[in-house]
Symmetry: C2
Amino acid sequence: MTSSTAEALRHHPIRLSDEERTGSVDAETFKSAFRLHPAGVAVVTADPTGDEPVAMTVSSLASVSTEPPMLVFSVSALSSSAPALERSDTVVVHMLGADHLGIAKLGATSGIDRFADRDAWRRLPTGEPVFTEVYSWLRGEIVFRLEAGNSTICIVHVVEAHLPEVAPDTAPLVYHARTWHRLGEGSTID
Amino acid sequence: MTSSTAEALRHHPIRLSDEERTGSVDAETFKSAFRLHPAGVAVVTADPTGDEPVAMTVSSLASVSTEPPMLVFSVSALSSSAPALERSDTVVVHMLGADHLGIAKLGATSGIDRFADRDAWRRLPTGEPVFTEVYSWLRGEIVFRLEAGNSTICIVHVVEAHLPEVAPDTAPLVYHARTWHRLGEGSTID
């Protein structure tokens, strides 16, 4: 297998025909549907060169496979982090609780230097930035990229986990209808 | 392009080397990390033959692209719905609120006939089953399948939307740490 073939097998564009595109639901209706769908929040960091750290808040993180462990998230082509993520082999995925709302906002605000506070993050030996107040994160290799419309779906094979031994006492952070929420006490139903 | 080539371009297995697999985080640690990550809930239905309706509750639904509108979810190979979904060209994705907990449980309980209550669902002209108490759903074509470990990631191009004109008064349904939750009043933070 040539290296270009190998690369092609790990990066693939989804092509829709003109006829398929014409039959699409309009973007506003589609967005309305997803405003009904809450999501957990994560921050993805990377640094392909050691000199251009990026951080991006995502509401598309999901577990895909447990053996081998793989997760998925998607990156909008409009994200300022998209070019660096496109060239990164590895990422760190920070699992955010409600106590980490500041980090969630940091990774979702455009036009700011997300690494300006030098005390808020450190660099792993492997080069990726980690926000030190987030106690749970996963590090992994991007094993597949799928171009889907105006986003890229990234599949990540998880090779390192940093989890506290004792579960921290923070409420889960949820993003819903353009608003941040915490899962409150007594939210359980059955 | 031959039809087998076209098919290959829309169904792809991710292959990890033995060395990559050896470097994986263990499954229990990976699952612990995702117990920190809440998710919205959806039920995916399909019927490839008109005679074998399937329904499956997923916590992996995410919006991917708005133009064209595409969404993603993943299907465990262990799901009883996996074989039928593998052969389906189209699916219906039901967006669930807390009022639809019964449907969420129905699609997550194994060993039962999920379509036993003939009054609870109807069939669209295109053949897919719809649970009638769920007022918001999207219908789409599976445009790509990516095999990732013990799951298949499905990318769906959305071609039809059924949304109420007036937003319903139900709390969002959230799945977190193996428990169902509703986003309660006053959960907003900023």
